[in-house]
């Protein structure tokens, strides 16, 4: 028991061990807002609350018209706003303010066949709801038709988003690609923080920092050389993770990823720039935090804890991104906006990426400033003194 006690004390006094224990909780709980938002939007779609449905009956027989009217009344009694219109132009109806347009062709009478096209007006802010609505609406109608032993209905779904009409499978696949690219924000965060902090922690642990700082090398050269090395490794780690996901999703058929179809060289270039800028931003912050640690592990633990909470807001926005420059200019948002660039265009992505580069340069300026100060030499001692003072106050 004495030996067990000693081993446990040894482990629990190691910051990395404590971090290993709490990290899964932090990581998974940081995803809660994303999954919470997904679930909430899906429930909204299921209830069809506040949805204006237009039933377009431009090429149907009278019997079908009567049947559809009855189904419309049924839906209306459930709180859905349903209007029967004669217009055949779904896009025009969507532009008029309807959220969902159902275009029926053919006859719904028993033994006959018909086609049903569901058009949904999408919203980037409610992306999960946008993707859920077509199947909810078509499911409702298919069920009502089946209850009345009506015709076989062939259903197709379209989503009108940001001025463009997508087929449902196309947008679903595009969203899969967006999700995958957005996840890279998460993947690059930890290696970038860890590598940046390790490069500073190693200098202290190997007792080389004072030699390095006394060499006739500009502080900004030290900062950017270390940052470049950390960014390269972080990018390689992220590429490896992404390639793994690509292989898994491709093999399992979970998502149909067609990156080259949606992302041209411009979009991919912006995405790469967004990745680099996020990595640079995180590395600079991690190196600044690392200046106060005496060991590699201490620096890594502190850096990961310091940068981790920042990922929670973008994670919560993945289920629906507001098209706002205010949001786009925040750190960690560039990857989301560049991921969505096939839908929203390159403007937001470029602005978001440029802002993130500026933020990374600001973080670099902070790191260089600290590196030029005495704190570069006395960082751990300064922190120790500060903690002692806090303890005394308490």
């Amino acid at each position: 028991m004495r030996l067990l006690g000693k081993e446990l004390r040894t482990l629990f006094r190691e910051p990395m061990v404590v971090l290993t224990i709490i990290m899964p909780f932090i990581v998974y709980s940081s995803m809660a807002p994303f999954y919470g938002s997904l679930a909430e939007q899906t429930r909204e779609a299921q209830r069809l609350e506040g949805v204006n449905v237009a039933l377009s009956l431009c090429r149907v027989d009278d019997a079908t018209r009567l049947l559809v009217s009855a189904m419309g009344s049924h839906l209306a009694s459930g709180g859905v706003n349903v209007t029967i219109v004669d217009s055949c132009s779904a896009l025009e109806l969507l532009r008029k303010g309807y959220n969902v347009v159902l275009v029926l062709n053919g006859s719904l009478m028993p033994g006959r066949s018909a086609s049903m096209a569901v058009y949904v007006k999408g919203s980037l802010g409610r992306f999960a709801k946008t993707l859920a609505l077509p199947s909810v609406v078509s499911g409702h109608f298919s069920r009502l038709i089946a209850e009345r032993q009506g015709a076989r209905v062939n259903t197709t779904s379209y989503i009108y988003l940001n001025g463009r009409l997508y087929s449902f499978p196309e947008l679903n696949s595009l969203f899969g690609s967006v999700m995958m690219l957005s996840y890279s924000s998460f993947f690059i965060l930890f290696p970038a923080a860890s590598m940046g902090a390790a490069l500073i922690g190693a200098e202290r642990e190997e007792r080389m920092f004072e030699v390095l700082l006394s060499l006739p090398i500009r502080r900004r050269s030290i900062a950017f050389s270390k940052a470049a090395a950390a960014v390269i490794v972080a990018l390689l780690t992220t590429a490896s993770a992404m390639a793994g996901i690509y292989v898994v999703t491709g093999h399992a058929g979970i998502m149909e990823l067609k990156l080259s179809r949606y992302y041209g060289p411009g979009e991919l270039g912006l995405y790469a720039a967004a990745l680099v800028s996020e990595a640079l931003f995180v590395v600079m912050l991690a190196m600044t935090v690392g200046l106060f640690a005496t060991t590699i592990r201490g620096a890594q633990s502190a850096a990961v804890i310091a940068v981790l909470p920042a990922i929670i807001p973008p994670m919560s926005l993945m289920a629906g991104l507001p098209l706002s420059y205010k949001t786009a200019l925040l750190p960690y948002m560039a990857i989301l906006y560049t991921g969505l660039s096939p839908i929203i265009g390159r403007g937001y992505a470029a602005a978001s990426t440029a802002a993130q580069f500026i933020e990374a340069l600001a973080a670099a300026a902070l790191f260089i400033k600290v590196l030029e100060s005495e704190t570069a030499v006395t960082g751990p001692e300064t922190l120790r003194r500060l903690l002692a003072r806090l303890r005394r106050r308490r």
Partner: protein, 255 residues
Amino acid sequence: MDVIVSVKELVKTYPGGTVALRGVSLKVYRGEVYGLVGPNGAGKTTAFRIIATLLKPTRGSVVVDGVDVVSDPLEARKRIAYVPEEVGGYRRLTGLEYIRFIVSSFLSASGREELVDSVVEEAAELTGLSMSVLSGKRMGEYSKGMKRRVQVAWALAVKPRLAILDEPTTGLDVEASYELRELIRDYARSRGVTVMLSSHNMFEVETVCDRVGLIRGGVLMEEGRPAEIVERFNARSLEDAYMRILASRGRSSPQ
């Protein structure tokens, strides 16, 4: 004689109020080996860190080879090779890779890139380590003595205007200490490199240094050639002289 280091009224107070230096003034001349001697916490490392541009003085000035280390630290660093106390080494690099990195960083800053190969070769030779160890083993596998030798070797081989060696033999065994002392004394004297070193070891400074400064509690108590100090205090050795100085000025620290 040319003055290489001029320290005037140097005061250093750390945040929190600890006073490490209380008006230290000294001069080091070209080609001499100057020893700063004193107990732990005397202010030796703080003084060296200020001269090496790593810390800023609270008051006073330091000029190295005509360059003020506070107002133009980058220019000062081109003139100074600094080996801190308890220095290690990049454990993933071989000794030779390390020497090349340091030497090329140092020489390229002063526009002497063409000398890199010859200086690396010279530094490698000064380490006294075989080429199979220097190029075949990473520094993580080196003993403390080997690491220290690599550090002192590059610091001398780049022929800086000033080499600062903070307690270069602390923690080394008798043999390693002896070899390092020999290296510092012989190389500095034969090549005219100015060296400032610190030590607790009175025998070491007596045999290696041309002049010594005795520091305690951030105050430079005595300065001169070892033999002069010994004679001045009618002592048997520098150690004896140091103890007499302490006795005459009170043993308690000024702090």
